[in-house]
């Protein structure tokens, strides 16, 4: 951050102001698109917190999105909560789920954890279908009609900014460095006196909160949810691809990845929806084989830039 941090911060402030004013001038389509971009930034950034920093790959992060969506939707539809507290409750519900799942699963070594997370998603989908009384089962859950796209736009923007700020704070702290030691060499970290189990659990809880909040917001925005729509493997894939492409373990990598991939998705791939997953698969393979650190990670090591870039 030695290189003109003031210019950087000024740029960020201008960008924030422009985004704050955008709903006044933007089209309905534009506002909705930006809302989704914010959602992806929050999701990719959250995945990065656990997987990018500790190296524990979560193949089921959409589970927290879905848990937040269901918690929020149930509170809105059945308990009559306003959407904003319901969204926060969605985040809390995702954290509770992360605690229940993380306490046993984070003791598992890397690949075991990855598969356990892959299974978690299927399990949650089965459970939400099963408990029909609460969730509406396979026929889904409808929320009362509400036109709140602009307020939800701001809420999503805050969620994206919140996740990014959180990442910055973590990466610049000793807590963040300790999370990285788990990725680098977990045994050595333990032997140096780092309580790796506790650190992993904290990172996991933090990484669940964002998806929980944006899940509830997305549920409110769409007005209707069902198990298939909130637990798709495709959502996990998308956040992983975004974070990997931009650069895992960095502050701005997931943001960059989300912007680049979301924009190309809207402009280019919308015309070829059938090859979407194929392209994502190819991007994952290409990044892993050719650019394992992602775009920013590559620049960072090449030009010796700090991780906060």
């Amino acid at each position: 951050m030695t290189l003109a941090p003031r210019a950087f911060l000024t740029g960020l402030a201008v960008l924030a102001a422009a985004l704050a004013l955008y709903p006044i001038v933007g089209t309905g389509y534009g506002v909705r698109a930006m809302l989704q971009l914010f959602m992806w930034i929050a999701l990719a950034g959250s995945w990065n917190l656990i997987s990018g920093l500790t190296g524990y790959v979560s193949f089921g992060h959409v589970a927290f999105f879905g848990a937040g969506a269901y918690a929020g939707a149930i509170l809105i539809a059945k308990a009559g909560w306003p959407w904003l507290p319901a969204a926060l409750a969605g985040g809390a519900a995702a954290c509770v789920l992360a605690l229940v799942i993380g306490y046993p699963c984070l003791r598992l070594k890397g690949p075991y954890f990855a598969i356990a997370m892959l299974g978690l998603n299927e399990v949650l989908r089965a459970l939400t279908s099963y408990f029909e009384g609460l969730t509406g089962g396979g026929s889904g859950l409808s929320l009362p009609t509400l036109h709140a796209t602009v307020p939800i736009y701001y809420a999503m923007a805050l969620a994206a900014a919140g996740v990014t700020l959180l990442t910055y704070l973590i990466i610049t702290s000793r807590f963040g460095l300790r999370l990285m030691t788990i990725r680098e060499d977990e045994v050595a970290a333990e032997a140096m006196g780092i309580d790796t189990a506790r650190h992993k659990l904290y990172a996991f809880l933090l990484s669940a909160a964002g998806p929980g909040v944006v899940g509830a917001l997305a549920a409110r925005d769409q007005g209707y949810i069902e198990p298939i729509s909130v637990f798709p493997l495709a959502t996990t894939i998308t956040m992983i691809v975004m974070a990997l492409f931009g650069g895992k373990g960095t502050v701005w990598g997931p943001v960059l990845g989300a912007i680049v991939l979301f924009v190309s998705q809207e402009i280019v791939w919308a015309r070829f929806p059938y090859v979407h997953q194929l392209l994502f698969g190819a991007i994952i393979a290409a990044v892993v084989l050719l650019m394992p650190r992602g775009v920013l990670g590559l620049l960072q090591t090449k030009y010796r830039l700090p991780r906060t870039l």
Partner: protein, 292 residues
């Protein structure tokens, strides 16, 4: 829930569990081989099984080939596909951190599913070859499941004979014990990796061919098999090949017993809880395996 469990039901469940278990064991042996030899968890294992199922479907629908005769053909086709995947992509991450191999095979997995959707559409396909059941005293077993058991047991036996009795099998086992030692003993490790990946894909393909007669063939049928195969090798102990047999039968039994008390929707939940519990209580598997 009021369930009255009769001895007949128990017998039916136990035998059904063993029938299903042989299939699980065969498919999981493939995943176990790749993990044992290369320390790679192949997330694309299930999608490879899906390609095997499609091979059988098209041979049946196009050429009218008996699905059971197509088992070796599906295996051969997938052996080639698996070997090509290894030669072109996977070999690059064998020595990389596990994060890389997990992500790479994950990418291959979603690409394969999407390719199948493009090439074959998402329509459900059925191989309607055999229906009905065979009765045995008070029990009744669907013919397709009995045949799946017979073929799976046969293929698994052949795979074990290959591993135990042949030069190639010894080289594979040596490589999974210690790559350095295998290299020193003149084993071409790269070639063994390719063959292992092909063999593992062929085992998945056999599974695909056998369940094509039982369930609908569609592009997303495979993913759950990656998870189940993984569960089997965890139950049996990673890197412990005979353990996969025990793990397969155990998973078959647990699923069938769970189906007595729970709706089928929740049987995956049971399998999941089983996975987590086993990993926590016996991280090296029930039979014990090697540490990663």
């Amino acid at each position: 829930m009021n369930v009255v469990v009769t001895p007949t039901m128990v017998g039916q469940v136990v035998i059904s569990g063993i029938l299903a278990g042989a299939l699980y064991a065969m498919v999981a042996l493939g995943l176990a081989l790749i993990f044992g030899v290369m320390r790679v968890i192949n997330i694309a294992h299930g999608p490879l099984l899906m390609l095997g199922a499609y091979t059988t479907y098209f041979l049946y629908a196009g050429l009218g080939l008996n699905p059971y005769l197509s088992v070796p053909v599906s295996m051969a086709v997938l052996f080639v596909i698996g070997a090509v995947l290894q030669r072109t992509l996977v070999f690059r991450v064998v020595d990389a951190p596990e994060l890389s191999s997990l992500l790479l095979t994950f990418g291959i997995s979603i690409a394969l599913v999407n390719l199948a959707q493009l090439a074959f559409t998402s329509d459900l396909r059925a191989v309607e070859y055999l229906t009905g059941s065979w009765g045995l005293g008070p029990f009744a077993f669907s013919k397709t499941r009995v045949l799946a058991f017979v073929f799976a047991a046969g293929v698994t036996t052949l795979a074990f004979l290959l591993l135990q009795r042949t030069r190639l099998g010894r080289a594979i086992r040596a490589t999974s014990q210690s790559r350095e030692v295998a290299m020193v003993c003149g084993v071409n490790v790269g070639r063994i990796h390719t063959i292992t990946f092909g063999l593992a894909s062929a085992l998945a393909a056999a599974g695909g061919a056998l369940i094509a007669v039982v369930v609908a063939v569609q592009p997303e049928m495979g993913q759950v098999w990656t998870f189940k195969s993984f569960l089997v090798i965890v139950l049996g102990g990673a890197g412990n090949y005979p353990g996969a047999l025990l793990g397969g039968v155990l998973l078959g039994l647990v699923e069938q017993i769970a189906s007595l008390f729970l709706t089928s929707q929740l049987s995956e939940v049971v399998a999941y809880v089983l996975l987590v519990v086993v990993l926590l209580v016996r991280p090296t598997g029930l039979l014990g395996g090697r540490q990663t």
